[in-house]
Amino acid sequence: MNAAWLPPLALSTSLVAAVVIFALPESAWRWRTGVNLGAALVKLTLVVLLGYRVVEGHYDTLRFPVVEGIDFVLRADALGMMFAGLSSLLWLCTTLYAIGYLENSPNRKRFFGFFSLCVGSTLGIAMAGNLFTFLIFFEMLTLSTYPLVVHRGTPKALDAGRVYLRYTLSGGTVLLLGVVLLYSLTSEHSFASEGGLETFLPDHRGLLLLIFALLVGGLAVKAAMVPLHGWLPRAMVAPAPVSALLHAVAVVKAGAFGILRVVYDVFGIELSVELGVTTVLAVAATVTILYGSLRALAQEELKPRLAFSTISQVSYIVLGVSLFGPFGTIAALTHLLHQGLMKVTLFFCAGNYAEELGIHRIDELDGAGRRMPLTSLAFTVGALGMIGLPPVAGFITKWYLGMGAIQAGMPWVIAVLVAVSMLNALYFLPILYRLWFRLGPAHGHGAWPEERRLGRLETSAWLLWPMVATALLSLGAGLFAAMPFSPLGWATAVALGEYLP
C-alpha cells in the first residue's frame, strides 16, 4: 500500500509554513510563533509516521515525470527517514531557540520564512528518491540559506554570504555536471534501483570515476571537506540558530548525506571499493579531520572554533562511508545523528553565552559555569561527546568507526581517531577549564562583555530548554545506544537491512 500523499504532505508543512510566515506581517509575533511551532510539530509527527510505515515495510513514494525519462521522486526509505527525523527534531528545537534568540530583533519574518524553507529543503533532500530530485532540493537549500547567512546585514555577513554562494553554487554546478553525466550513462537511476552501476564497470571505468569525482566533489563543498571548507568558518557571522542549523542539520549534513547516497545508493559500496574510490575518500576525510582539528586549535573565538570542529566532525561521516563493511556504515549513519545532536547543543550554548553575557572570545568565558551552570553543563556534555568520551553519543561513533576501520583493513584510521580525540581534548578541555575552574566576573573579577538578564533562570527559557533537551538527547543517545530505537539501533537496522546482503 503506497500512500503517495504522505511524503509531499510532510514536505509541504515547512513550505506552507514559509508561505504563511511570508504573508503574515512583521509584527504578528504570536501568529508566527504558532505557525512555526505547529508546523514543526506536525512535521515531526508526519516524519514519525513515515518512519513507522517504513518499519512496517511501506516505502511511500510520490513520482511524476518532469521531462522524458526523468522523474521527480519523493520516497520515504529508512536512510532518508533517519535524516528526516533528525532534521525535524532539531528543527523543533532550533525554532524554539530561534524564537528566543531573535526576540525584538528586526527582520524576523524574513528569517523564519527562509528558515522554514531551509528545513523544507532538508526534508526534501532526505526524501529525494533520485539524484535529480536530490539536486533540486540541494540547490534550494543553498538559496534558502543565503538570506539566513547574511541576515545581520553587516559587511562581514554580506561577505560571508558571498563566499558561501561562491563555494556552494560552484559545488552545485559540479554536482549538476556529475548528475547529467550519470543520467546520460544510465538514464533513470533512482536510489531504490536494485541494480547498481556494475554493468558499466568494464566499459566505462574512467567515466564512472569521473562521475564519482564530480558528484562527491560537488557534495564535498557542502560537507566542508578540506580544501573546500572555506565558507563554513566565515558563515559563523550568522545568528546562532542559523549556525546551529548549518552545522548540525542542514547544510553540511546535506553534503554528507549526499555522499552517503552516492556511495551506497548510486554506486553501491562494492562498486566503490572496486573502483578504489573509498580509499581516496578515506584519505580525504582523514586530511579534513586532522586539518579541521588543527585549525580549531588555533581559533580564539568560540564559534569559529566550533566551526572548525564541525569541519573535522562531519568528515567522520565520510570516513565511515569509506570504510567498507557494516561497522563503517553504522558509524557513518550514527554519526549523522549524533554529530547533529552534539553540535547543535554546542552552538546553542555558544549562542547563549553571546546573548546573555556578550561572550564571543574563549578567554572571556572564565568562570561562566557559575553564572550559567546549565548552559555550561550542556556545553560540557557536548564537548565531551566531541572528544569521544563515553557515555556521550560521540563515543559510540568513534567506537564503530574503529571497528569499521579494522573491518575494512585500514588500521591506520584508528591512529587518526586517537590523534583527533586528543586534538579535540586539546581544544575543548581548555574551554571547560575556563568555564568551571577559572575565576571570572561571576566571582567578582572583571565584568562580562555585555551582560543582559534575559530570564528568571540563567537566561531566557526559550534559549535554555531546547539546549537542555538536545544535551540530554546526546547523552541519552550514548547511554542507551543499544536500545532498539536509538540512533545506533536505527542505523544498524538500516545498515544491515539495506546495504548488506
Binding site: 563515553p390 574503529g402 579494522i406 584508528i414
Partner: protein, 603 residues
C-alpha cells in the same frame, strides 16, 4: 556471607544493590548541588555532611552482601557488570579506602567549611566543587571495577580520571593548577592510548567484553602491539616509569584525602586495567608476549629503583610518598609481568598481587593522611604519634602486619616458580621503599605543626592505619592465598628496613641537592620542553602557511581587481559595438557566406 544463599544469589537483589552502589554517589552529588542551590546565593550548607560521607557505603554493602552478574542490553554498547573474585576484592579495598578518605576529608576540610560559613566565597566554591566531584570520581571508580564490558569500563575509567581533576586542583594554588594540568595532559594521553587499543582489539576480535578482549589479544596477529598499547595507556595511570610524571606533581598539590584516594585507589585502577586486558596467565601465548613481559618487568624494576633513588632527594613529604607509590607500582608492574613471562604461575601470583595492592592502597592512604596529621599534630605523646605515623611505612616495607603477609605472599608464589632473581630484586627494591618511607617521615618531622586538628581527620587516619595492618583479615580472598609468613622467614623479610633507613640517612647527610636540580616530576620538565619545542615548530609552520595563504589571497584579490577593470573596459567596447552595429551586421553576413562556402569546399 551471612545472608541466606537464596537472597545472596538473587539477581534482583544483586542488581538493585549494584545500581544503588553506582547511583548513590551520583544522587549525593545532586544532593549537594541541590542543597547549595537552595541555600541561596550566600548560604553555606554543610557540604560534607553525613549523607555525603555515605557515598561508598552501598558499594561496601555490595561487596559484602551481593554476588552475581548483571547483563544490561540497552546500556551503551551492551553492559555486563559482575563481581568476580578479582573485582570483589578490588571493590572491597577501594570502597573502604574511599569511605575512610571521606571521613578524613570531613575533618581535613572542616577549617575550609568554617571559612566558607564565615563568608569566604572562594572556600565555598572549592568545597562545593569537591563535594560534587568526589562522589562522581567514586562512581567512576566503582563502575570500572564492576564493569566486565569494555564500554562501561572505559566509561568508569574516564569518569574517574576527569572528575579527579577537581580533586587535584582543589586549593587552586599555582602548584595545584600546575599539578592538575600535568595530571590532565597525561590522563588525556592515556585515554587516547586506551581508546586506540580498545578499538584495535575490539575491531579485530569483534568483542565487547573484557574477557573477549583478553582472548582477542592473545590470538590476534598484532596482539603484542595491542597489549603494549593498552599497557602504556593504563600505565600512565599506574605510574609506569616514563609515564609517571604526573604523580609527583599532582600528589603534593592535592589535599591529603584526595592524595590518599589518588594514590590508593585510582592509580590501582590502572593496574586493574592491566589485569583486565592483558592476557595474563594464558598458557597459549606467543613468543612476543614473553618479550613484552620482560620489557614490562624491566620497566617495573626500573621504576622501583629509579623512583626510590630520585624520591629520597625530594623535599616535600607528599612528593616523596608519590615517588614511593611509583616505586611500589613498579614492583607490582614486575609482578604483573610474570603473568606474561611465567603464565603457568599466574594463578598463584595474582592473589598475592591483589593482597599487595590492597595493602598498599590502605597503607599509602594512611601515609598520605598522615601528612595532614603531622601538620596538625594532636596533643598526644610525640613518640606515639611518630610511631603511628611510621607504622604504615613499616608495613609497606614488609616488616610487620599485612605488609609482611603480602610480601611473603608473592615471594612464596615466586619461589614456587624459582624466580629467585626477581625475588632478590624485589627485596632490594624494598630497601628503596624503606629509604623513601624514612625520608618521608623525616620530611614530615621537619615540617610538623601542632594543633588545629580535627577528630574526624585523626580517627579516620587511625582507622585506615588499623585496617591497612589487618588487610588479610578483611580482604575477600581465599585465606590460603594469604598465608602469614612463618617466623623463620621474618629476617628474610625484615632486613631491607635497616638498610633502607641507613641508606636514607646517608643520602640525607651526604648529598643534599637543591630542589631545582631534582625537581619533583623529573622527566615532565623534559617532556614539557619537548612539547613546547614541538608547539613552536607547529606554530612556525602554521605562521608560514598563514603567510603563504595571505599572499595567495592577496594575489587572488589583485587578480579580481584586474578582472573588474577589464570588465569596465568591456563597457567601452560595448559602446563601440553599439556604434558599429550595422557594420558588424555586414561583416557577419559576409562572414557567414564565406564560412558556408568554405564548408562546402571542405566537404
Amino acid at each position: 556471607m551471612m545472608l541466606p544463599d537464596t537472597l545472596f544469589a538473587n539477581a534482583l537483589w544483586f542488581n538493585s544493590l549494584l545500581s544503588l552502589a553506582l547511583l548513590w554517589p551520583l544522587l549525593l552529588a545532586v544532593n549537594v548541588t541541590w542543597r547549595h542551590v537552595t541555600a541561596g546565593d550566600q548560604g553555606v550548607p554543610q557540604y560534607l555532611d553525613g549523607w555525603w560521607l555515605s557515598a561508598p557505603w552501598p558499594a561496601l554493602g555490595l561487596v559484602l552482601l551481593g554476588n552475581g552478574q548483571w547483563i544490561l542490553d540497552g546500556w551503551i554498547l551492551g553492559g555486563q557488570w559482575e563481581l568476580t573474585a578479582l573485582s570483589r576484592a578490588w571493590l572491597m579495598f577501594t570502597a573502604l579506602l574511599w569511605a575512610l578518605a571521606a571521613l578524613h576529608a570531613r575533618g581535613y576540610f572542616a577549617h575550609e567549611q568554617a571559612k566558607a560559613t564565615a563568608g569566604d566565597a572562594a572556600a565555598r566554591r572549592r568545597l562545593l566543587r569537591l563535594a560534587v566531584l568526589w562522589p562522581l570520581t567514586l562512581a567512576g571508580n566503582i563502575l570500572l571495577i564492576v564493569a566486565q564490558d569494555i564500554a562501561s569500563f572505559y566509561l568508569g575509567f574516564s569518569l574517574m580520571t576527569f572528575a579527579a581533576y577537581a580533586l587535584v586542583i582543589h586549593d587552586e594554588s599555582e602548584r595545584a593548577v600546575m599539578g592538575a594540568h600535568v595530571y590532565l595532559i597525561m590522563a588525556v594521553l592515556g585515554e587516547g592510548m586506551i581508546l586506540g587499543g580498545f578499538l584495535w582489539v575490539a575491531g579485530e576480535a569483534q568483542v565487547l567484553t573484557l574477557d573477549g578482549l583478553r582472548e582477542g589479544i592473545a590470538q590476534a596477529p598484532h596482539g603484542v602491539a595491542m597489549a603494549a598499547l593498552l599497557w602504556g595507556g593504563f600505565g600512565i595511570k599506574a605510574g609506569v616509569i616514563g609515564l609517571h610524571v604526573w604523580l609527583p606533581l599532582a600528589h603534593p598539590a592535592a589535599p591529603a584525602p584526595a592524595s590518599a584516594v589518588l594514590s590508593g585507589a585510582m592509580i590501582k585502577a590502572g593496574l586493574l586495567g592491566w589485569l583486565n586486558v592483558l592476557p595474563l596467565g594464558n598458557p597459549l601465548l606467543s613468543e612476543g608476549f614473553l618479550h613484552l613481559g620482560q620489557l614490562i618487568m624491566v620497566a617495573g624494576l626500573l621504576a622501583a629503583f629509579g623512583a626510590a633513588i630520585y624520591g629520597v632527594m625530594q623535599r616535600h613529604p607528599k612528593a616523596v610518598l608519590a615517588y614511593s607509590s611509583i616505586s611500589q607500582m613498579g614492583m607490582m608492574t614486575a609482578l604483573v609481568a610474570t603473568g606474561l613471562t611465567a603464565p603457568d604461575n599466574w594463578h598463584l601470583v595474582w592473589p598475592a598481587l591483589v593482597l599487595f595492592v590492597a595493602h598498599h592502597a590502605l597503607a599509602k592512604g594512611a601515609l598520605f593522611m598522615g601528612t595532614s596529621i603531622s601538620e596538625h599534630l594532636p596533643a598526644w605523646p610525640l613518640m606515639l604519634m611518630w610511631a603511628l605515623l611510621a607504622l604504615p611505612g613499616l608495613s609497606l616495607v614488609g616488616t610487620l602486619g599485612a605488609g609482611m603477609a603480602s610480601k611473603w605472599g608473592f615471594k612464596s608464589a615466586l619461589y614456587d616458580n624459582e624466580q629467585t632473581t626477581l625475588i632478590w630484586l624485589l627485596s632490594l627494591a624494598a630497601i628503596g621503599t624503606a629509604a623513601l618511607v624514612s625520608v618521608a617521615l623525616w620530611r614530615q618531622w621537619q615540617q610538623r605543626q601542632v594543633g588545629k586538628g580535627n577528630g574526624w581527620q585523626l580517627y579516620a587516619w587511625l582507622a585506615t592505619l588499623g585496617l591497612a595492618l589487618m588487610t588479610p583479615v578483611w580482604l575477600p580472598l581465599p585465606s590460603e592465598s594469604m598465608p602469614f609468613p612463618p617466623f623463620a622467614e621474618w629476617p628474610g623479610l625484615v632486613w631491607p628496613l635497616p638498610l633502607g633507613v641507613v641508606a636514607a640517612g646517608l643520602m640525607l647527610t651526604l648529598w643534599r641537592p637543591k630542589p631545582c636540580v631534582v625537581p619533583a616530576g623529573d622527566l615532565w620538565w623534559l617532556y614539557a620542553a619537548l612539547g613546547r619545542a614541538g608547539a613552536n615548530v607547529y606554530g612556525a609552520m602554521a605562521q608560514r602557511l598563514y603567510i603563504t595563504k595571505a599572499a595567495i589571497v592577496k594575489r587572488a584579490l589583485a587578480m579580481e581587481t584586474l578582472l573588474m577593470q577589464r570588465l569596465e573596459q568591456l563597457l567601452a567596447t560595448d559602446a563601440w559595438m553599439r556604434h558599429h552595429a550595422s557594420g558588424l551586421m555586414m561583416a557577419l553576413a559576409v562572414g557567414l557566406v564565406a564560412l558556408l562556402a568554405w564548408e562546402s569546399i571542405l566537404s
